[in-house]
Amino acid sequence: MLIINKVSKTFFPNKPNEIRALDDLSFAVSPGEFVSVVGANGSGKSTLQNLIAGTVQVDKGEISLNGELINQMADYQRSRWIARVFQNPLQGTAPELSILDNFRLASLRGKTKKFTIGINKAFKERVKEQVALLDMGLENKIHQPMGLLSGGQRQALTLLMTVMSDVKLLLLDEPTAALDPRSATRIMELANKLIGEYQLAVLFITHNMKEALGYGNRLIQMSHGRIKRDLPNEEKSRLKPQDLYEWFNED
């Protein structure tokens, strides 16, 4: 359970270019809840994810995950429970390392990296099984460097890598924005499947209204650093893309 309690964040405080990115924001996400977050540029969506992941620190308020206060921890300490998939498909994988090495690193999320060789036969089989789920024929190429794969393939692998360890919260920051429609659908289907299977809590930022409505079981609209609308699944399922476009015009 992710709890955001009265969190505020201001960039460049007391300067002419002061930006109040988040303003006394509170909400909670339970395991298995797949929250689509929409909002105009600058409404604070990405700042929210950065604060949760710890790449930016909060000014005021508290963030806790499964009862543990996390807003004082460094990003690499929190990442034990929090996984991120970014808009840029190249950001989630190391290009010169093989698929296998990338998965090994992912499986050690938040654990100490020991001076022992961790890749053995059993681990290779596990990776092959996971990669075979994608149905892209990559299971026979696990020794190939990541850099040789397409953006869509890399994004799919990034997503798979998140469930190689015991992750509680998944932050998706426009994961399909840089992909062609077919790859995008594939990625979202995969995300949907993994989220259900592993009972993850998910914050899914998107500018694609169809995706925002088609996936997830809760919808949040952000505006000027606050939550403007927070709709549960029943109300969300009655919405049409036009409704969302009208929301944006209100701002």
């Binding site: 992941a53 994988t93 690193l105 990296k113």
Partner: protein, 291 residues
């Protein structure tokens, strides 16, 4: 022929340094400049140790830890004070010049009269003897490093220079990785310095100038070969570094043998490195070939 054998021997003495530069290239994507200072530091500690008849079993760990200490300084400046890694390296390198000069007491110490690593005779011929000893050292290093880079820690190390955002997002404290990486690199570089000092029979305060460039050139040759024959086997990559270092020294030896003035050697080295760094990414060459 002896001339080229000497170049190969010298190349093998440079191998630890080449491997160290390779390591920092993996972690930072650029070579660590501290190298120029820690290389001389290794030679200086070696010269002092040998001239005071310190046992090699004490001296070698001392040389390695001297280098590691220099690397740690760069790492602390870079990760704690958030100074650019390139600048941090230059700062430590500059400071090391004074440290080296103070330790050495003068600008040059001859070592020919002292017994060192190469004076234990395994075979009669002195060149073959040296080849055997350096060869064994190189094999041990390849074995140790290829083990290190294949461990979970090593994978994190190789990924750091490749995609630091991802590595941090996966819960790795990259500051620690950089610190350990720089310590290992500079320990290797210092060891190289001590080997060269024993090989050429003296330690000199200026011997480190431009060493980082020859290391970079060697690694670039290695990367060029790896690009042609891609492999995910770590030890093959390390072997390529050895080939790179030796080829580099042979090219330098060749230029000297065709009569290029030795005072122009550094100029030639820079141009040669520029050539191998620029070639793989030059569209200029490709487009002019098309025309």
């Amino acid at each position: 022929m002896d001339f080229y054998l000497a170049a190969i021997l010298q190349g093998l003495c440079f191998v630890p340094m080449g491997l160290g530069i390779y390591l920092t290239m993996k972690i930072f994507n650029f070579p660590d400049i501290t190298t120029d200072g820690s290389y001389t530091l290794g030679a200086v500690i070696c010269a002092l140790g040998l001239s005071h008849h310190v046992s090699l079993f004490v001296l070698i760990p001392l040389i390695l830890s001297g280098g590691a200490l220099a690397g740690s300084c760069t790492a602390i400046i870079h990760t704690k004070l958030k100074i650019n890694a390139l600048l941090a390296g230059i700062l430590v390198m500059t400071a090391l010049y004074s440290v080296n000069l103070t330790l050495l007491g003068r600008s040059n110490i001859p070592l020919l009269s002292y017994a060192g690593l190469f004076s234990s005779p395994l075979v009669q011929d002195s060149n073959c003897n040296m080849l055997l000893i350096v060869g064994m050292i190189v094999i041990v290093l390849i074995f140790l490093l290829s083990y290190l880079l294949r461990t979970d820690f090593g994978i994190a190390m190789r990924a750091t220079g490749n995609n630091e955002t991802m590595v941090r997002a996966l819960g790795v404290n990259t500051s620690k990785i950089k610190w350990i990486g720089l310590a290992i690199t500079n320990a290797l570089v210092a060891f190289s310095g001590s080997l060269i000092a024993q090989f050429q029979g003296f330690a000199d305060i200026n011997m480190g100038i431009g060493v980082v460039i020859s290391g970079l050139g060697s690694v670039m040759i290695a990367e060029a070969i790896i690009r042609i024959l891609p492999t995910d086997k770590v030890w093959i990559n390390l072997m390529m570094v050895i080939i790179g270092v030796v080829v580099f020294q042979l090219v330098l030896a060749f230029t000297l043998s065709v009569g290029v003035d030795s005072s122009l050697l550094k100029l030639f080295t820079s141009c040669f490195v520029l050539l191998i760094v620029a070639l793989p990414q030059s569209n200029f060459l490709k487009s002019s070939l098309k025309r």
